[in-house]
Symmetry: C2
Subunit: 384 residues, 2 copies
C-alpha cells in the first residue's frame, strides 16, 4: 500500500468487533491503536486522548500536542515498537472521524461556478457578480455527515418539471456527486474575533476528501431565495482518514493572481494544494482533476467565514466546493461531466450515465507526493 | 411575576457563582435546582440528568422522562417542598440552554416573505414560485447561537453600494433583527427515515423565542446563488428558558386553508400557535404581532426538513423565520418596519431608526394564556 507510509499517518476512528471506538493512525495496511500505544508506553501521552469515538479530544488538546503525537508516531512507524499495537485495517470498522459542529460548504472553483452558471442561467453571465470578490459559501447539515462506505439512500423531495407550474413529489431523478476537499478545524476561535488569512491554517487540523451528494432537481426548485437545503442535507460523505495538515503542506504551489485583487482581509500570496483527484463510478474513472484548480484557498475560506465575528469550534468542517478544472474530463460533478444530461458519460461496461442510478458506487480518490488521501466511497440505495 | 407559574415551568441552565452549570426550572422569580431536588428526594430522578451544562441529557432521556419530570415539578411547585431548592433568578447566571447540533431557519411567514420580495424585487412577484409549496429554509450556524443577554458585536463584511461595481468592506450599516419562534428537537430521528407531519411534534421538546440578527447589506451582496451566510452567522440569540411543548399545546388554533393544498407529506389540518409577540427597541415597543400569522406550522417545517431522509439530533434547533402580520405595526424586522429605511420608525426618546445603532438594546417578548415565554435580549456593541 503506497501513500500510507510514515510520512502520512492520517488519523481515524476504528472499532474492533465488540469493543469501543478509539482513535487510530493508518500505517500501510494497518491501524496503530494509539490508546494502546499510550497505555503501553511507546507513545508518551494520556491514553484518554485516544480512547474516544472521535478525533475531537485530540484536536482540542492543541497544536503542540498534535505536533508531539505526530513526531512520536513518525519515529514509532520507522521502528519495531509499533507492530504489537497494529491491527489490520480490514479487521476493523472505520467510523466517522470527527464530531462536526458546523459544516460550511464553499464554492471555490472558478470552473465549477462558471459551468453551473452556464448550465442553469444560460442567458446571463456565468459568474454571479460577487464570485470573484469572496469565497461564496453556505452552511450544510453537520448531522448528516457520514463516513466513507455509508450507503446513500436516494432522497425524495419536490421538483418541478419543465413547463409545469406545480411541483411533484418523489425520489430525486438527478442525483449527483460533488468532489471536494474538506478541512477539519482543530483549533477554535473566539466569537467576535475574525481569523486573519495568514493565521487561518493554524486553525486547521487536517484535510479529507468529501463527497457532497446533491439532488439537482430538488436544488433547482428550492434554492431561491435562501440557497440549497434538502438538495444537500440528506448526506455528505467524508473519508475515514483525516490527513494531518503537516503531511500536505509541501504540496502547496503558487497560483495565478486573483483578478480583481481581493479585499485586504482575503489578500495573500495565491496558492493551492497540488493534489491529484479522481472520481470513479462503477469502476470507471470518469474524471481526473486537481485541487490546484481551486481559486479561493482554504485560508481565504476560513478568513471569510470568520470575518463577521463568527467563531469556529473544534471539529467544524469546511469544504472547498466542487473542484473542476478547465478540461471536460476534469469536472468534479456529473452535472458538469454530462452537461446536465446533454452529453452522457460512458462507463466501461458500455452503459451511460447523466446522473446516478440505484446501485451505482462512487469512489473519490486523491494523492500527492507520498500521501494518498483516504478514499470516499458510497453506493446509492433506492429511495425508501 | 406572571406567566411563570406552575402551568409553565420552562427549563434552562443556570450557574451560581463559582459552581458548575446545572439544569433548572423557572418558577416565578426563582429557579428550581433540579439536581438538588433529585439528590434530596422530592424529584425521583437521577441527579446526573440535571448536573449538566445543557438540557441535552434530559431531552435524550426521552418523552416519558420529560412527562414524568414535568408532572413531578408541577406537583412540587404547588407545595412547600420546592422552596429549599429554589434560588432567585437574579442571583444566578443564565447560560445557553441547549447544545444545538444543527440550526435551521425557515421563512414561514407569508407576510414577511411577501414584504421582503416587495422590498428587494420590486418588479417581480413578491413571492417566489416555490413559497406556497414548501416551507423554505436554510441552515444557519449552530456554533454562534447565544443565550439572551449576550452582547452582539456589529459584524463587518462586504457590501456593495448602489451603483458601484466593486464591494467595500466595513461594519454593517443595515443591522437588523428577526423576531422568530424557535423549536428545540428533543427526540432524534434516524437517517433515511422522514418524520411524518402528524408525528413531528413528538420530536419537539419545547419552544423558545429567537432573534436571528441579520446584516441586510451583507445579505444583499452575498446571497446569490447559495443563500445567506455571513449576514446571519455572526449571532443568533435564543431565550434562556425553553418552554415545554406541553405548556403551549392549548395555544394551538385553527388557521386558514393553505392554497394551493400542499403535497401529501405536508398535509394536516392548518393550525398555528396563538402566542402574542412583541419587539421592544430601547424601551419602545415597535411591533406587536402573533405566531398565529405563520403560514407553515412547526410540524410542516420538521416534516419538510426530514422528507429527504435527513435526520435530526437531540438539541437541534429550528426556527420559524421572521413573524410578520398583515398590519404595518405587526412586522417582525426593522427592514419591514422601516420599509428598508424609507419610513424610519420613531422611538419614545424622539429618535428614529431604520436599522440598529451601536448601543441599541432589543428585547423580544412573547406570551399566551398562563405562559410568558423567556425574553430574548441583546445590545449592539460597536464593530471590533
Amino acid at each position: 500500500v503506497t501513500g500510507f507510509g510514515p510520512e502520512h499517518l492520517p488519523y481515524g476512528v476504528f472499532r474492533r468487533a465488540g469493543e469501543s471506538p478509539r482513535v487510530g493512525a493508518r500505517l500501510g495496511d494497518g491501524v496503530l491503536d494509539l490508546a494502546a500505544l499510550a497505555a503501553d508506553g511507546p507513545l508518551d501521552e494520556d491514553p484518554a486522548l485516544f480512547a474516544r469515538p472521535s478525533l475531537n479530544a485530540l484536536m482540542a488538546a492543541g497544536r503542540p500536542t498534535w505536533t508531539r503525537v505526530r513526531e512520536a508516531l513518525r519515529a514509532l512507524a520507522a521502528g519495531p515498537d509499533a507492530e504489537p499495537a497494529t491491527v489490520a485495517v480490514d479487521d476493523v470498522e472505520l467510523l466517522l472521524p470527527i464530531a462536526a459542529g458546523d459544516y460550511v460548504d464553499f464554492y471555490s472553483s472558478l470552473e465549477h461556478a462558471s459551468n453551473v452558471g452556464r448550465i442553469f442561467r444560460p442567458d446571463a453571465e456565468p459568474l454571479v457578480p460577487n464570485w470573484r470578490h469572496m469565497p461564496i459559501g453556505y452552511h450544510g447539515r453537520a448531522g448528516t455527515v457520514v463516513v466513507s462506505g455509508t450507503p446513500i439512500r436516494r432522497p425524495s423531495g419536490q421538483r418541478r418539471e419543465p413547463g409545469d407550474e406545480a411541483p411533484v413529489f418523489g425520489p430525486s431523478v438527478r442525483l449527483d456527486i460533488e468532489l471536494e476537499l474538506g478541512f477539519v478545524v482543530g483549533a477554535a476561535s473566539a466569537l467576535g474575533e475574525p481569523v486573519a488569512v495568514d493565521e487561518a491554517l493554524d486553525h486547521v487540523f487536517g484535510v479529507a476528501l468529501v463527497n457532497d451528494w446533491s439532488a439537482r432537481d430538488l436544488q433547482a426548485w428550492e434554492y431561491r431565495p435562501l440557497g440549497p437545503f434538502l438538495a444537500k442535507s440528506f448526506a455528505t460523505s467524508i473519508a475515514a482518514w483525516v490527513t494531518p495538515l503537516e503531511a500536505v503542506l509541501d504540496r502547496r504551489v503558487g497560483a495565478p493572481a486573483q483578478e480583481p485583487a481581493p479585499l485586504a482581509y482575503l489578500r495573500e500570496d495565491p496558492w493551492a494544494f497540488d493534489l491529484d483527484l479522481e472520481i470513479e463510478l462503477n469502476g470507471t474513472t470518469v474524471a481526473r482533476t486537481s485541487a490546484r484548480h481551486l481559486y479561493w484557498s482554504a485560508a481565504q475560506q476560513l478568513a471569510h467565514l470568520t470575518v463577521n465575528g463568527a467563531s469556529v469550534r473544534v471539529g467544524d468542517l469546511f469544504a472547498s466546493g466542487t473542484i473542476s478544472g478547465p478540461e471536460r474530463g476534469q469536472r468534479g460533478s456529473l452535472l458538469e461531466l454530462s452537461w446536465n444530461g446533454a452529453e452522457p458519460i460512458e462507463l466501461a461496461d458500455g452503459s451511460t450515465r447523466s446522473f446516478l442510478q440505484d446501485g451505482d458506487e462512487v469512489v473519490l480518490r486523491g494523492s500527492g507526493g507520498a500521501v494518498t488521501l483516504g478514499e470516499v466511497r458510497g453506493r446509492i440505495e433506492p429511495a425508501g
